[in-house]
């Protein structure tokens, strides 16, 4: 295994049991279906998908907040899916997460300083409270919450959304993780504040050489922020490549549609949009064959070829730009 890989996810499958009222398992929803990817140290990979694409399940599986059904997750060379109890808890400081909603992810009854210090206490960092306090204050400074001693006394409800997300970043980065999982870190924030948060994440990430899994529904944001993009559809990566290739030369019909509906101010009354009909199918009823064929414009344009219904395409192509489609044209 390459030691420069901060995260290696191999054959990850996450299933949820759908239970009836009596508690009997009725069926299984496969939120993540055999997904593999890796992120190099210091690299940012964006996972792009709509709700139901499995992007949050992947994040939660990596964070060990849900148990993967199959597959392995390796963070900084350590396989974490086999860990449990104390070993698992101790491994957690290597992979930290920024949650989407800063109004929900910070305990409203604790002060900002307590919130950041809690990370250190739980991880057993710092010998005394004074040491931890010092480190926590430095972390608050580093995320631009100054004067740190004063901001540290505040409670979450006394802060704006952007400031809260900075607290969450400080609480994660104070542990100097190897991997940061950022689940829609700016989608709840005002547009004008997004750049500040993203710049901060980028700066702290490059200072500490942290790999980042950036989860978003916003393809244009992924294009701007990430080093590499993986597009998810119904629990599967359908296309993966460099941002310029994904936006400039999307190969999968789903990616093509996503790119076409990106709102662009300068494209007033644009006509070339491909708006898919219907919605992502239920993950307990994944279509046979190519899972996208039920909504695929290419499938219809090609006269509904049987291959799309019969066989499940796998991710293939050059390593830097791979696509899971039987009929996408290779240059």
């Amino acid at each position: 295994m390459n030691s420069s890989e901060a995260l290696v996810v191999k054959d990850l499958t996450v299933e949820y049991a759908l239970k009836s009222r009596t508690g009997r398992i009725q069926s299984r929803a496969r939120a993540v279906d055999n997904v593999s990817f890796s992120i190099a140290t210091g690299e940012t990979l964006a996972l792009v998908g709509e709700s139901g694409s499995g992007k949050s399940s992947i994040a939660n599986a990596i964070m060990r907040l849900v148990e993967p059904s199959v597959g392995s997750i390796t963070v900084a060379g350590r396989e974490v899916t086999s860990l449990s109890g104390r070993d698992l808890r101790e491994s957690r400081r290597d992979y930290q997460m920024i949650f989407q909603d800063p109004f929900e992810s910070i305990d409203p009854r604790r002060t900002v300083l307590d919130t950041v210090m809690e990370s250190l206490i739980v991880s057993g960092i710092g010998e005394t409270d004074a040491h931890r306090r010092e480190r926590a204050l430095a972390a608050l400074e580093s995320v631009g919450l100054t004067p740190a001693p004063k901001v540290g006394e505040r409670f979450a409800h006394q802060l704006s959304g952007g400031q809260r997300q900075r607290v969450a970043i400080a609480a994660a980065m104070v542990l100097q993780p190897k991997l940061l999982v950022a689940d829609e870190p700016v989608s709840m924030l005002d547009v004008s504040l997004r750049a500040g948060i993203l710049r901060l994440m980028q700066k702290l990430g490059s200072d500490l050489d942290v790999a980042c899994l950036f989860i978003t529904h916003d393809l244009s944001l992924a294009w701007m922020y990430a080093d590499r993009i993986a597009v998810l559809y119904l629990g599967r990566i359908v296309e993966e490549g460099a941002p310029a290739d994904i936006i400039g030369n999307p190969k999968h019909p789903y990616t093509q549609a996503l790119v076409s509906v990106i709102p662009i101010p300068e494209r007033v009354n644009k006509t070339e949009r491909t708006i898919l009909t219907g919605e992502i199918p239920d993950s307990s009823h994944i279509p046979q064959g190519c899972r996208f064929h039920t909504r695929c414009p290419l499938y219809r344009a090609l006269g509904e070829p049987a291959s799309c219904r019969d066989s499940d395409p796998s991710l293939s192509g050059r390593a830097i730009h791979r696509v899971a489609c039987h009929h996408s044209t290779e240059e």
């Binding site: 709700s51 704006s160 547009v191 294009w223 709102p263 101010p265 300068e266 007033v268 644009k270 708006i275």
Partner: protein, 328 residues
């Protein structure tokens, strides 16, 4: 004549002494069949302004001054009775987050029929339901699903139902507050597409409120940008969203900074700009331009003198001392 003409409207939250002017002397005009977008960050007063039109302001908010003229009739201080005859029938509202507010124990068909029955006593249940089915068809839901319940629908479908409800009494104006915010990218595109297509079939005017300036670009004819309770710029979508090298483009620094807060995949891949700082606390007295503290082109006059909303070009209004010199 404009369908809607709001002039010098001031809306205050709280008392005269301690209250906050959430909307401060704002104009808003919507022509017959026009789609107008109202944009701005949270707390800028866009929802307050919109809700003042049919007088659906929350408790504690009052229209202090100014007027609302709808279809030639001054409804600023209209009686509750008059307003009730206007709401749904003339002006209908799609509230923010309303897609979770559908009644879970009634079929969607009935929920669409209900406002029709409430406003037209001559209408029979059967006719109202038949019309509800037609409306479902118009918003892209199969007629056969009119007996389905809200929980059987996805978020996008429920928003379609909300739109059908808003159209039930054939209103002239629909006010939609963040109608696509909670939806997926592809569903957002579907709903915006639907709104556009309805404009022709229903002879509709639309006030579309969004924090996301970019979604207004290909939906609206005209866009008004608000900041800290003030209208800072309004103009045609072509003007506001024109690239900087066009002869006429967005002229307020706030609008320009906001536009640069979105990644633009047609341009070079650069980090988005954003706007440093936060909007002012409106409970404190304001002097000068409200954007001055966050503006990168601020001059001394900006801090002392409030800029007036001037007509820079025909139908392009800007409130900035340096509107003519601002460059992107």
């Amino acid at each position: 004549m404009n369908l809607l003409d709001v002039r010098n409207l001031c809306v205050r939250y709280g008392s005269e002494q301690t209250g906050v002017l959430a909307v401060d002397t704002v104009d808003l005009r919507i022509g017959q069949g026009e789609f107008v977008g109202l944009a701005g960050e949270s707390g800028c007063g866009k929802t307050t302004l919109a809700m003042a039109i049919p007088n659906l302001l929350p408790e504690g908010a009052t229209v202090v001054s100014g007027s609302v003229t709808f279809d030639g009739q001054d409804i600023t201080h209209a009686s509750e009775e008059t307003l009730n005859s206007i709401r749904w029938k003339e002006i209908s509202v799609i509230f923010q987050g309303a897609l979770n507010a559908l009644n879970p124990v009634k079929s969607v068909g009935w929920q669409i029929a209900e406002p029709m029955l409430a406003h037209d006593s001559g209408l029979s249940d059967k006719d109202a339901l038949a019309r509800a089915r037609e409306l479902l068809d118009a918003v892209g839901i199969s007629k056969s699903r009119s007996s389905a319940y809200p929980h059987e629908f996805s978020g996008g479908m429920r928003q379609r139902v909300m739109i059908a409800m808003a159209l039930a009494c054939k209103p002239k104006l629909v006010i939609a507050d963040e109608p696509i915010t909670a939806l997926d990218v592809m569903t957002q595109a579907q709903i915006l597409d639907l709104l556009r297509s309805l404009s022709s079939s229903f002879d509709l005017s639309l006030l579309l409120i969004s924090h996301d300036l970019s979604v207004l670009a290909d939906t609206c004819d005209r866009v008004q940008v608000m900041y800290a309770g003030k209208a800072v710029e309004s103009g045609s979508a072509e003007t506001i969203f024109a690239s900087a090298d066009s002869s006429e483009s967005a002229a307020h620094p706030y609008t320009n900074r906001l536009l640069k807060s979105y990644p633009n995949i047609l341009h070079e891949r650069v980090f988005i700009d954003g706007i440093p700082g936060y909007p002012p606390d409106l409970s404190l007295p304001q002097t000068g331009c409200r954007f001055a503290a966050r503006c990168d082109q601020v001059q001394s006059v900006c801090r002392t003198q409030e800029p007036a909303l001037i007509e820079l070009h025909t139908n392009h209004f800007v409130a900035c001392h340096f509107a003519e010199q601002v460059s992107r």
